[in-house]
Structure formats: structure tokens, C-alpha cells
């Protein structure tokens, strides 16, 4: 292959963190704290960090409750990567056989309909995530399900990303 024709290679994203949580209620607090710690050196604007933490918490809650059925013996695996322009967080559970409402998006929560009783009061998790991150993807291999969240993040010292 002509080196001149070779596409410019991009460095692989740097892994900032990799950890596992037991699937117990409230575990999402640990997830968001560890993710926040892992990106501390990236100098994310506070409002973007808050959004990332909320998205991670919601994805982790879903993994714990729906993916792993709140079974303490099943772990939720979380990894954090940084490409230089983008933070990626993956949240993986053992719920690969079902989509737990994530794949097609489910019913859009509507406050008026909830107040009238047409919708149940809850069901805000996916809605929140979609408004907190720049990208969200759900994949499954039939056994494990992975939610991949992406947030644009300029390198520290670079011009802030609007």
C-alpha cells in the first residue's frame, strides 16, 4: 500500500478507568463518583460534568435494575475512555437478551400525561440521558448489553466546546 495513500491513523482512545459494581440499589452513586474522578484532569466545564454524571447514573441504574435484575452477584462493568476530543463511557450488564426499553426508546415521558394518569410517574431515565450526552448507543451480544455514552470534550487548555 502506498504510504501516501494510507489514511492518517488516529491514536486509540486512552482508557481512564475500568471498574465493576455490584448490582445493588444506589450503586449508581459510586459509578458517577468514579467516572467524575477519572475525568477530573480533563477540566470539563462544571455544567458538562454534571450532565455526564447524571447520564452515567441513569445508565448504571438501568443496568443494575433492569439489566441485572438487582442481583448483587451480577456486576455492572464501566469503562471510561478519552480520545482527545470525546469522552466515552460504557456501561455493561448481563441483560443482553432483552432491551429493557432502551433499543426503541419506549414512550416519551410527558408530564401532562403523567399528571393526568395516562402515564406512570416514572420512566424518565432514557429521556434524561438523551438530553445529557452527545451520543448514546445500545448494543448487545445476546448475553451482555452495553450502553455507550459519548460527550464532546476539548483537550484541557483548548478552546471550550460550546
Amino acid at each position: 500500500m502506498n504510504p501516501a495513500a494510507r489514511p492518517a491513523s488516529r491514536p486509540a482512545p486512552r482508557r481512564l478507568a475500568s471498574f465493576a459494581l455490584a448490582s445493588v440499589p444506589g450503586g449508581e452513586r459510586l459509578a458517577l463518583a468514579q467516572v467524575a474522578e477519572s475525568v477530573a484532569d480533563l477540566s470539563l466545564p462544571p455544567e458538562r460534568l454534571d450532565k455526564l454524571k447524571t447520564a452515567v447514573a441513569e445508565a448504571t441504574m438501568n443496568a443494575i435494575e433492569h439489566g441485572n435484575g438487582s442481583r448483587p452477584d451480577l456486576a455492572v462493568d464501566i469503562e471510561v475512555f478519552y480520545s482527545g476530543t470525546e469522552i466515552t463511557v460504557t456501561v455493561t450488564d448481563r441483560g443482553g437478551r432483552g432491551d429493557a426499553g432502551w433499543a426503541g426508546g419506549g414512550e416519551t415521558p410527558d408530564l401532562a400525561r403523567k399528571l393526568s394518569g395516562e402515564q406512570r410517574p416514572g420512566g424518565w431515565g432514557l429521556f434524561l440521558i438523551r438530553h445529557m450526552v452527545d451520543g448514546m448507543e445500545v448494543t448487545t451480544d445476546g448475553e451482555r448489553r452495553t450502553v455507550r455514552l459519548t460527550v464532546r470534550a476539548a483537550a484541557p487548555g483548548a478552546k471550550p466546546d460550546g
Binding site: V24, P25, G26, G27, E28, R29, L30, E47, D50, K51, T54, A57, E58, M61, P109, L111, A112, K114, L115, G117, R120, P121, G122, G123, W124, G125, F127, L128, H131
Partner: protein, 126 residues
């Protein structure tokens, strides 16, 4: 971490308005504490309610659902709800979910009480 770390207090701020002080987190597990606080406010004879979020540390989608449940009950009893003390992040979440259209949002307690006294209906202010 399977128990709510929500601390809730209720106080009468004026003759008709109860303030529910919320400390810690608001999640689905907070429902017993918050509903108990609401019932206490009713016992106090509150016709209006103000939620104090100034010591809120964390709220998730379960907590938002719980607030919707609280709203349903308050609406049923024609009790306007207001709130103050939300951080910018949670204020944005209130806007995204349109909770700010059902719960009047204020910057501080004084504004919230004045707003509740002056308005029978909810509305965004402060």
C-alpha cells in the same frame, strides 16, 4: 447503599404555607419520607407548599418520578407547589421535564413564599 439518605423536615412558614426542607438525595427510595412530610404538611393545615432544595445533593429519574407523584397528590388537593434552592443543573432538569411549569421555581425562600401568597396558580418566577 440500598436505603434512602433523604432527610426531610416540615415547618409552617406562614399561616397557610408549609415548607418541606429536603436534605441529601431524592430518589425513588425517598418516597416514604416525602409522602410522610406531605401528610404532615396537610395536618398542619397547609394550603400551599414550598419545597426547599438548597441542601439537595443528588436527584435521579426515580426522584423525578416521586416528585410527579407528589404533584398529583397536591393537585388533587388544589395545593400549589413551589420550590427554591435548585442548582443550575437540577433547574435545567426541571425545565427539560417541564416540572418548572407545574412547580413554580424561585431563587430563595422569601421569593417563594411571596410568590405563593400572591399567586394561586403555579408559574415560573425568580
Amino acid at each position: 447503599m440500598d436505603k434512602s439518605t433523604t432527610s426531610v423536615g416540615v415547618r409552617m412558614a406562614d399561616g397557610q404555607t408549609s415548607v418541606i426542607d429536603i436534605k441529601g438525595e431524592v430518589t425513588a427510595a425517598s418516597e416514604p419520607a416525602l409522602m410522610s412530610a406531605y401528610e404532615e404538611a396537610e395536618r398542619q393545615g397547609a394550603r400551599r407548599l414550598v419545597l426547599n432544595f438548597s441542601e439537595l445533593e443528588y436527584m435521579n429519574s426515580g426522584g423525578i418520578g416521586m416528585l410527579v407523584t407528589l404533584l398529583v397528590r397536591a393537585n388533587r388537593h388544589r395545593q400549589p407547589l413551589a420550590a427554591y434552592g435548585l442548582s443550575d443543573h437540577y433547574r435545567e432538569i426541571f425545565e427539560l421535564t417541564r416540572l418548572d411549569e407545574a412547580i413554580a421555581i424561585y431563587g430563595d425562600e422569601r421569593s417563594a413564599l411571596a410568590g405563593q401568597a400572591g399567586h394561586g396558580q403555579t408559574g415560573r418566577s425568580g
